[in-house]
Structures are given as C-alpha cells and as structure tokens.
Symmetry: C2
C-alpha cells in the first residue's frame, strides 16, 4: 500500500457551475486513488507516506485532452488558411504519409510524448496514423511518459491517398488486432478503435471495426459533424443514414456495440449536430470532444456547447492538434469560454455563455468520464493532480483561489513555466 | 555615427498580402535607422560597427501594441464574464482607483514595464489612470524600459466613480499640461491625449482637450463603437452627433485638430462602426486599434477588419490589456486571424478572411504608422527589430521562413522563451 500526501491551495468542483477551495489543504492518496480531500493536518503524515509540500501553489484535478492527433504535431500553426477537406488533402495527409518512415516517426513521436508530458495534460485520447509499426513507436513513447492514454491506429480505406489507405478491410483489422495485442498488459496505454471518419471508411470496414469493438470491448474515437462540406459528403456517401452519427451507430461504434454493450465513445467536434444526432449522443452516452481552437482555425464554426450541456450530453475538452495549434489544455479552457461568447453574440443571443468554472469542469471531469473515475479531486477518483505555481505571474495584487486559477489559464501564454508538478494516478510524472 | 549590423533569416513585407525572405541576410542600421536590408556579406562589417550574429534565427520588424491599459495589468484574466459597461464599473474602475496609492502604483507599473520589455512589443500606446502622480511613475518606468511609447493620463469628468473623476475641466487640463511638461525632453516617451471615451467626458472637457491637441500638436487615443450598450449611451448623451466618431471629431480629437492639423489618432475597437464613421476614419487617417481578444472576452462582437482594410482605413493591432488577457502581440496576431474566420463563418459569408501575412502587417506596419516611419524592415524606417529563436520548438520537420514565423506566433503559448533579442530604434533593449 503506497500512501502519498500533497499539500497546497486546493481548488475543486462538485458541480460545473462553481469552485470550492481549501487553502492549505491536502489530498491523501492510497495506491493511486484519492481517499481524502480536506484541511491539512501534520498528524496525517506517517512514516511510510510520501509527502509533497506545495504550500502556496494551486492544486487541481488533472486535465484530459480527449482528442489529439500525435502525427500532426509537427505542422501545427502552419497552413492555417484552409477548411477541413482541402486541409486534410494538402496538409494533414501529406504529413501523415511521412510516418511510413520509422526513423521520422520515432523522432516525431518522441517530441510529441515529451511535450505532452511537460504540458498540463494528464490523460489523452490520441490518434496515430494508419501505419501499424509507427503506431507501436507512439504507444511505447506514451507508455514511458507516465501519462494515461487511449491510442489508436487510424483505420481508413477510401477517399485518402494510397500510401495511407489500409489495403483491405482484412489488413486493417489484422493491423488493429496486432496493436490490441501490443497494448495488452501495458500499464498506461490502452487501445482505442479509431475509424478516421465516415468519408474515409467503407461500410465493410465500419462493420468489421464494430465487430472488434464488441469482441474486445474497446473504446472508440472518431470525428462527427465538424464542417458543412464534410457533412454534405457523408450525406452523399451514406444516403440511407438520417444523420452523420447514425453512420457510426449502425455499426456499433457510437457508444453501444451491436450486442448492446456500452463502450466509451469520443466524437470530436459536433459543431453542426442536428437534434436527432444530439438525442442519440445523449442516449448512448457519447462524449463530445469540444475542440474550440480547431473549429475556429479551420473555419468550421462554433459548437453550441452550453446547449449540449443543458441537454445532458457529455462534453469534454480537446486541443485537436494539429488543426488546433496548441497542446495547452489551459489555452483550450480559455478558447471554450471565448467560443461560447462568440456563439451567443453572433449566432444566438439567447445561448448561455459558459462560465470559466464550466469550461474547467469540462476539461477535467467532463473528459475524465472517458477514462473511468477520473477528473475530480474527490475520494475514490484517480489521483490525477496538477500543481500550478502562479507565483510566476508577478502581481501587485492578491487574488482568491478561483481568480488565481482563472488567470493562470488566461495568462498561460505569457508565462515561463508555472506547471510545478503533475501526478497521474498518484505517480509524479513531471 | 553609430553603425549596427544584425544577421539572421530576414522575413519582411513590402505589402500586406505576402512575405519576402532572405536567409542569412542582414539589416544594417545607422543611428537607429535602417539603411540596408539584404544578403549578408563579411565586407559589411567594419571596425566601428556593432555586429549581432543571430544566424539561424528569424529577424523581423517590431510589433506595435497600439492600445493597452497599463493600470489594468493586475487583474487581466479574471472576471471574464462581464460586458463592457458592467465590467468597467465592477472591475476596471475598482482597480484603477488603487492608483491613488503611489506605493501600489509604483509596484504595479514596475511589473507592467518589465513584462512589456520582455514581451515581443517594441512600441505601444498606453493608458494610465486619471491620477497625475501615478502617471508620472508609469512614464518613468516606461522611459527606462527603452521601449518607445505614447502615454496618457485618462481624462474623465462624468459617469465614473468620484475617486477617478477629474474634479473639473480646469483640473483635468492642468494635470494634463503637467504631464506634457514632464514628458518634454524624454527620449522614449511621448505624451498622448487620452479622453477615456465619450460616456466619461463632458462636451466642455472634450473641447478643452481639443484645444490642447491643437496647441501642443499631440497624438490622441480613445475608444470607439466597442459595444452596443456603450453606443446607445453615447447616442443618449450626444443626441446631435450622427455617430459616435463625430463626438470626438467635433472637438478636433479624431485625426484632425480644430485648426486642421493632422495628428495621429488611435481609436480602439470600432467593432460596430457605421458607414459614415468608417468614411470619416478614412478621411481623417484615424488608426483603428483592432483588439480581437478584448472584443471576444467582453462579448463585444467581432470587427469586420478585412472590410476596413479593403476600404483603405488604417488598422493596427492591440492587446487591450486588461480586457485582453495577454500582453503577447504574437497571440494578438493569431486572434486577429481567428476573428476574421469567425466573422466570415458566422456573420458574413462574403467577408474576406485575413491571411496570416495581413495580420502580421497590421501588427507591424499598420500600427507603426502612429509612430512615424516605423514597423517595416526597410531602409529609412526606425530599426525596431525582433529576433526569434524558433529552435525552441522541437521539430522533426524543417520549414521555410514564412511557416516558421507563423508557427512561432501560433505556438508562442507553448514556448518557454524564444524571444532572443529586441531592438528599438537600433538599441538593444532585451
């Protein structure tokens, strides 16, 4: 039994609309699970425990980036003028093709894993390319980082360059199974089925992947209703589906397998989801990966996130590198608040704007759901914990903990450092 | 005669819509003015010159932040839920009132000047509070920073808390004249008339400030058509003005003095300017301080900047701290591109989206106009120069200079460092 105590100014949430704080509080962790959150007392320290004293620092739940393309890390912040489909052809696919070169893949994925480790992200859902060998390198690099991640090789067998296309449904399934075995027994990394998106997956491929989801009880990640041209393309390709989400659901890839098992399912974007699509997401427990920077960079639009939350849909937050330019989940939190303001000002005046606390909840507890009891500073949750030294922001002013967290997010771009420590499942990884 | 040579990968613009690059180029500076931009040659180095070798780094023109409130630096990134008028009452004015305490002002302005010095900003137009003594502290701190700035005490005599209100028009003018004298003879800092905005200035005050503009030939800065409620308030207060801009123009505070002299005039925001207001800005050479982060944070809306540019209106870029949360002009460049995408997607599909090169031009040459021949890497321009070490971004990929600059902006929030050197008028300040 391993016992750890982390002391600092705790800020946590029982509900999205507000924060609770304990100054000079502590989190007590046993075997990676939180078992006490409250006032610090010297008597809590025992001989066998590890004590981290972060007095004066902010201590929060970890941030879960539930949609990020590891293979698009190199070019993020370039070619920012395009919309989704031309951007895929001219930028994303071109970069992804390079991952057939294992030496390139090794370097690129090592950089990605190192940067993610140093970021504020504790857990992530990660897209690789379609290459099996390169995906193994990514899995190994992430496993070593200490972060907890769900990773998948992209499956695609149409509407993409030959060098990225899975040769056949059989090859695609075979490669996927190889990676399922490869991740079996790993401590930090779990396989996640990753059909790229409906335009790039034939019905046969979807059907085969649906069978794998059922057989191995796998989580699923893909893209949904991101861009108007993409949605029109899906309508063309799948005339019998009433809406985009149904093209996944009919194959058991939308939160419920064909045999009716619930599996975690992350759908990125949902910028333009219809009422029916929203209802199905809610019914199936699909988690929307809200990616505000990406949606703006690719001129996709702005998702009506407060409405989704009010309807009871699960929403988590994501950076969506490389269409999103930054791996900073702190910046994603800010962008989520800003996007909700844009939506209410420019699209629908009656739409509720997200409070900072709601965006933070989305980034922690919202996305945390994908991984189990994750994303809250509360007993029985995994001890994913961030320690922020907001003393790196020089200030003539003293702020309460909530304002300290808010400005730490908003000013993170101005800071040199500030992420003091990061714990994942009770283990200090940075 | 002082001669300086800066070597590196030059990236510069003759026109907004594209970049020109010279790898292993150099800028030759004589007495603070650029006199050569071209290929580096060892023969250029003479015994009497100072040579800076930044081989492999990006060398660009300086960034001009033409609207920033020094006195709102402390609370940026907090209280982000409000719109302009309630935010002024509950947040901004409350903070500004603290500057009657000179000890608080000294600390706060020292932090501000130090952070601005370390940022990518080379020149700035800066708002102080209404306090004369505190404004002197700000002027001194900025003078010492080596940055070139225009600074003004805020003038206001209505619709604000008593502790911030100038007691009378006479007091307001008297204090302003004291600061005009205080800045006379300074090397880096120039006085800029700063009527806060029409809602806070009586006609008598505006008239007196207009006379000062004429008498001292002073540049002017204020706010314009930022928020719907603010615009409605101006309409109420000034029923005889056809539009907001006219409330400045009738007193010679909108780019032309009463006697017809042209003076630099910076109007922040112009989110909702009418055709007539736009025509007058163009006719008078008013420079719009586009503040995209601020306009989103306060839910003011999104300014149609590409239309302004196409109409021939001068536009520069601004952080507008504290409504803007970051002093990073790199982040402002990104936000300007993002805002134009939002405008075209959500407001007017026919609106042109800004290219990265246009946003960069706005931030350099656009705002540079306010200060004279400033903001371009070209002969006869002031030698305001930034050196970026984009080697701090680990990469498996090699990019051309334009992509390097673009990603340096987009990824600046992820970086630890990267601003290698900063020259203002030929002098290395950082």
């Amino acid at each position: 039994m391993k016992r750890t105590i982390i002391k600092g100014d705790l800020i946590f949430q029982s509900f999205p609309d507000k924060f609770e704080t304990i100054s000079s509080g502590c989190v007590v962790i046993t075997d990676g699970i939180i078992d006490f959150v409250g006032r610090f007392d010297d008597k809590l320290i025992t001989d066998d425990c590890t004590f981290y004293d972060y007095t004066g620092c902010l201590v929060t739940a970890g941030l879960n980036d539930i949609h990020i393309h590891a293979c698009q890390n190199a070019f993020r912040g370039t070619d920012t003028d395009l919309e989704l489909l031309p951007w895929l052809s001219s930028t994303a696919f071109k970069e992804e093709a390079k991952f057939s070169d294992l030496s390139y893949a090794r370097t690129a994925y090592a950089i990605f894993a190192d940067e993610l480790k140093k970021s504020a992200t504790t857990r992530a859902c990660v897209f690789a390319t379609s290459h099996v060998a390169a995906t193994k390198l990514l899995i190994s690099a992430l496993e070593e980082s200490g972060l907890k991640t769900f990773v998948g090789k992209v499956n695609m067998d149409r509407n993409c360059p030959t060098e990225l296309k899975d040769e056949s449904v059989q090859t695609s399934v075979f490669g996927t199974k190889e990676l399922i075995s490869f991740t079996a027994g790993l401590q930090n990394t779990k396989y996640m089925l990753t059909p790229r998106f409906t335009p790039a997956c034939t019905d046969n491929l979807m059907s085969a992947l649906g069978a794998l989801a059922d057989e191995y009880n796998l989580p699923v990640q893909s893209h949904l209703s991101e861009n108007a041209d993409e949605i029109a393309l899906v309508k063309d390709l799948c005339p019998s589906s009433r809406f985009y989400g149904e093209t996944y659901d009919r194959y058991g890839l939308f939160g419920r397998t064909k045999s009716g098992k619930a599996t975690p399912c992350v759908m990125a974007h949902a910028v333009h989801s219809s009422k029916a699509e929203r209802a199905l997401m809610k019914a199936n427990g699909v988690v929307v990966a809200h990616s505000p920077h990406s949606n703006i960079n690719l001129s996709s639009g702005v998702a009506p996130i407060s409405a989704y939350l009010d309807e009871g849909i699960n929403v988590g937050l994501a950076t969506d590198v490389g269409a999103g330019h930054t791996k900073s989940m702190l910046s994603a939190v800010v962008a989520a608040v800003q996007s909700s303001k844009i939506y209410s000002r420019l699209v629908d005046n009656s739409a509720r704007r997200l409070k900072f606390s709601e965006a933070w909840y989305m980034a922690t507890a919202g996305g945390g759901k994908v991984f189990g009891k994750v994303g809250r500073l509360a007993p029985s949750y995994a001890a994913d914990i961030l320690v922020f030294d907001d003393g790196v922001i020089p200030s003539a002013e003293v702020f309460p903990a909530e304002a300290r967290l808010e400005r730490f997010c908003y000013l993170s771009g101005d800071l040199r450092g500030g992420i003091k420590a990061k714990f994942v499942a009770g283990k200090k990884v940075y």
